[in-house]
Every structure is written in C-alpha cells, then in structure tokens.
Symmetry: D3
Subunit: 61 residues, 6 copies
C-alpha cells in the first residue's frame, strides 16, 4: 500500500518502464510517508484500437 | 472526462469496436453535457477462460 | 456482459444518471449485438480533490 | 453481483484457474447470501515486467 | 499477490464482510498456492443508483 | 494519457494529496516522455474495513 496502476499506450521500452516504476515509487514514498517496500505498481498497456478520445480510436486517426 | 471502460468478450470486429466507441461517446455527451473531445473510452477484451458466471468459466461450458 | 464503468465528476443529477445509463446501454446493444438484459453499467463519482490533470487537482485550480 | 476481479501473475494452469473460480464463487455465496448464478469472476493475468513492489519489477529481480 | 477486488451492493454487515474476506482468501490460497500473507482483498460498495442491468438502475426498479 | 490511479488508505491530508499528484505527474513525464498536460491522476481512498491482507481486514487487527 499504496497501489498504483499506470495505464498507457503500448510501445514504451523496458528501460522506460523500469525507470517509471522507480520514480513513481519514490514520489509516492516522499509525499505519503508510505514505506518503500509496501508500494505496489501495476503497468497496463493499451492498444491503439482500444483507446478513444472524442469518439475516435487512435487507430482510426 | 468522463472516462468509460467497456469490458467484453474478445471477438468483436474492428468495425464493431469503432461504432461502439462512437455511439457510446455520443450517449455520454447528450446525457451529461460533457464536451465530446473530453470523453475517453477504453476497451478491454476478456478471454473465455478468464470470465466466469456462477462459478463456471465460459471456456468450461 | 458487456460491463461498462463510467467514471465522472460528482454533481450530475439522478435524472442525468438515469438517462446516461439508458442511452449507453442502447449504444452497446446496437453496436455489439449483446442482449440488453446482459449489459451492466457501473457509475463511479469522482471528487474534485481526487482528480488531477497536468499535475493539478481540480480542487486546486 | 457480486463482481470479483482476481489479478495475479501469469503462469497458473487452466486447472488452477478453474478451481480458483469455483472456490471463490462458493466463498462469496456462503458469506454474502448472493445466489450462485449471479456471482461473476474476472481473472486478470499480470506480466512480470508490469508488476513492481518497492520500486522494482519482478522481471528485474 | 494475488489481488482480489470484490464489488457488491452496499448493505452487507461488518460480520459478513469479515467472513467474506477470510473465506475468499482461503479459496485463493488453496487453489493457487499463493502464501496467505500475500493475498490482498479490496471491497468496493456500490450504491443502488450507480448500478444498472439492462439499462435500468436498481434504484429505478 | 498516461492514466494513473493511486489507491491508498483514507486519512492523508489535502496537502499530501496535492504533493502526491504533482510529484507522480513529474515522474511520469520524465520517464515516459508524455506531455505534462496529458497526464491524468485519480486518487481512490480505501476504508480500513474494506482492505485486507492475509485474510484479515485492517479494521479487525
């Protein structure tokens, strides 16, 4: 605890995901006082045909 | 905003998903007064072995 | 099935929520071929201090 | 209703998932009084590079 | 891990929720081999005006 | 995009939540290359009787 879910378009590299998870965890620890080993992060990749803004999917633009 | 997540069994066509996203966005705009370009839709596909009703997965029926 | 979750700022009236749920359900039925009685909709209200865009919560703007 | 979502690391067998869904459904029925045919279970598999504890992904350990 | 989310109509007693959490945790441990102290359960209460089946909210029936 | 959901025990102050949202947004921008105004953060408060580890709710410990 806390539990952080990050939903983003697929395509980020493993290096980006590793850094993302590290930096977000630090941000949570420093601002909430949670202990680092309790912070959990989930990444969820979105496909371009499964994500729409304004009624139009990214894959249709 | 609003953010709409639609979870359904895999197997719909791209044409169905495109229409789904358009029509749901219109429904949200007309009933909530949100501006169209702010409506976000996520689609999540479910596999038949990851979905159960009454204790039985679809893939076991 | 499908399962639709609509997350939006608190403050909509009951009349708006009732219409939202009806219209979204129709949109899902017409585009996916799901039978109406199987469509499930969840509404989730967001508070203005629990929602941020660009690093700033709505309650701080 | 109720709707149960179980998020876990990928790699469980179909036999484990089938038993999981059966047993969790029974546990829900016996403790909440819900009727069995109304209990819905979703399984979500997590990848090891999309799950982190303490700022470190499982795939990096 | 695993992480279990149980979404249900508000109104269950504390005793029911306590038993639900215990029994679901046991079901997960016995079928997946997860160690008990790693199983996390979240309960989410739904209001009757925020839940609809077939386009009609429970509060409108 | 990305969309970040942070689920944590209720009780954090408004000041902590404001800082949390700012810092997490920065962490996402610096590691993924997303533009700041596109990063969305949702906070979800958990109650102690709705959160269990090892089959025991926090409110029962």
């Amino acid at each position: 605890m806390p539990y952080v879910t990050i939903k983003m378009l697929e395509g980020r590299t493993e290096e980006q995901k590793r850094a993302l998870v590290e930096r977000v965890t630090e941000a949570v620890v420093e601002t909430t006082g949670a202990s680092k080993e309790k912070v959990v992060v989930f990444i969820e990749d979105m496909q371009r045909n499964h994500y729409a803004v304004g009624g139009k999917r990214l894959s249709d633009q």
